[in-house]
């Protein structure tokens, strides 16, 4: 079953913050986050592993609540380059094939 992402879309001004949520009904081993710009391939951002620490680089970070099977992506002081569609991909436990199930995406637009 596909994880649910919220919000579906968000518009920001440069410098504002945003939070994107990803929720699953299944027990998860990890959550992956990707960003895709129009007409391009999805680009890997980070992985949150069960039992692992919160990840982040630059002004983008994420957390993983194992009990609630939820992950959140935090974009701080957004830049124009952050615009795109963000996808979470969830990996269930004992998944030998490293298969991911992706959410429907959150479209983020950052305006000057």
């Amino acid at each position: 079953q596909q994880p649910v992402q919220s919000p579906q879309a968000v518009i920001l001004r440069e410098g504002e913050d945003a939070v994107i949520n990803c929720s699953s009904s299944k027990a998860l081993y990890s959550v992956h986050w990707y960003r895709q710009k129009h007409g391009e391939a999805p680009i890997f951002l980070m992985i949150l592993l069960k039992g692992g620490e919160q990840k982040g680089h630059d002004k983008i970070s994420a957390s993983f609540n194992e009990k609630k099977q939820q992950s959140s992506l935090y974009l701080t002081a957004s830049q124009l380059s952050y615009s795109g569609t963000y996808f979470c991909g969830t990996e269930i436990s004992n998944n030998a094939g490293n298969m991911l199930t992706f959410g429907g995406g959150t479209r983020l637009m950052v305006k000057p």
């Binding site: 999805p42 592993l49 094939g97 490293n98 298969m99 992706f102």
Partner: protein
């Protein structure tokens, strides 16, 4: 950037014709995946491979077949294309089992008229 090449990048064909898409990697990764991406559906897994000649079905495998005769190549075949298979197809690779990132190719835009 991960060395992943998809070909062709664009293709227009007619209903009922066979179509083969190729994914070539230079990373020597064990796992390879085919996804389709449609508006409102995100990325959906078609088939994946966990080694040479080892493949398995994903969420939306009906109407598709795959083959992997070499580590570097993963082929996706539509035996008899239908208009519902018009989509953008992405190949991805992964170096390990659980907890490893997937890296995507640039995609193939396929239109079936």
């Amino acid at each position: 950037d991960a060395g992943i090449t998809q070909s062709p990048r664009h293709k227009v064909t007619e209903t009922g014709t066979p179509v083969t898409l190729r994914c070539h990697q230079t990373e020597n990764h064990r796992y390879m995946y085919w996804y389709r991406q449609d508006p409102g559906h995100g990325l959906r897994l078609i088939h994946y491979s966990y080694g040479v000649k080892d493949t398995d079905k994903g969420e939306v495998s009906d109407g598709y077949s795959v083959s992997r005769s070499k580590t570097e190549d993963f082929l996706l075949t539509l035996e008899s294309a239908t208009s519902s298979q018009t989509s953008v197809y992405f190949c991805a690779i992964s170096g390990g089992a659980v907890g490893q990132p997937q890296h995507f190719g640039d995609g193939t835009r396929l239109s079936i008229l």
